[in-house]
């Protein structure tokens, strides 16, 4: 991966279940409206590749990482919590600590429902940048926007948080018609389908009036 791609790629590590989907899609939209690219484990559909290798490759390709550790509830089927998100956060932090010079430039944003709740179940990450989204799309968009904005050179303008949130609402309004035109249903969209629609919509939509 070339250096410019590394500097503008964001690894999104979050739950992929239906209950979280609205937040995941809002995060992906915000990443792209900031001028960055969202990457996640769902983008590769190669059964021959071991999952952890696939994830490690994507992490090594991304300077930025968004990690949502909010899913601490026990799985209804197994009565056990899922640990994939904290594991992938650990991989990301490990790459930053032990990787080569480029990997040491990694920056991460950790999300939870409440700001200090993590102290009860993963206190070792104290000192990292942890933000609370309260399960709200507008809030998570503003958090991601402000975080990426602070990492962006001053010569580049990024839409403001409220404007970005409004633009996401416009995109959601048009998504059903967009899917209909390509003979798909919203619930059938793969990650790659969704991101491509976001990219093309952002390229085709009028620019934000002010930032």
């Amino acid at each position: 991966m070339s250096e410019p791609d590394y500097d503008r790629s964001v690894f999104v590590n979050c739950p992929f279940d239906d209950a979280y989907r609205h937040l995941f899609e809002a995060v992906v939209f915000a990443v792209h409206d900031c001028g960055y690219m969202a990457r996640c484990a769902l983008e590769v559909d190669d059964a021959s590749e071991v999952r952890i290798d696939k994830i490690a490759k994507i992490i090594s390709d991304c300077r930025f990482g968004i990690h949502d550790i909010s899913r601490t509830d026990a799985d209804s089927a197994t009565s056990l919590p899922r640990f994939n998100m904290p594991l992938e956060l650990g991989l990301f932090l490990g790459a930053k600590r032990f990787g080569r010079a480029q990997q040491k430039l990694k920056i991460c944003l950790i999300l939870d429902v409440e700001r200090y709740r993590y102290q009860k179940f993963i206190s070792d990450i104290a000192g990292q940048d942890i933000a609370a989204h309260s399960g709200d799309n507008g809030t998570v968009i503003r958090i991601v926007r402000d975080w990426l904005s602070s990492a962006t050179t001053k010569s580049v303008k990024i839409p403001g948080g409220r404007a970005m949130s409004a633009r996401y609402n416009a995109f959601r309004r048009q998504l059903p018609a967009l899917c209909k035109k390509v003979h798909m249903r919203i619930d059938e969209l793969t990650f790659n389908d969704y991101v491509t629609q976001v990219e093309e919509w952002l390229k085709g939509a009028p620019s934000p009036a002010s930032t």
């Binding site: 559909d45 309004r173 967009l178 389908d193 491509t196 990219e199």
Partner: protein
């Protein structure tokens, strides 16, 4: 130096529908937008603000 608006990046992906079809669909859907959606696209959340700005 005046800051320039960020550029939207794209990446080649294995999609269910070819990107050119998605692009054409986006173009058609955006062209059919109503006034309220147009305001939202421009990041404007309040009609009052727009009306107020027009009067100045």
């Amino acid at each position: 130096m005046t800051p320039k608006l960020r550029t939207i990046l794209t990446r080649r992906r294995a999609t269910s529908v070819p990107r050119r079809e998605i692009r054409a669909a986006v173009k058609a859907v955006i062209a059919e937008r109503d006034e309220e959606t147009d305001l939202l696209m421009r990041g404007i959340t309040s009609r009052k603000k727009v009306a107020g700005a027009d009067r100045k």
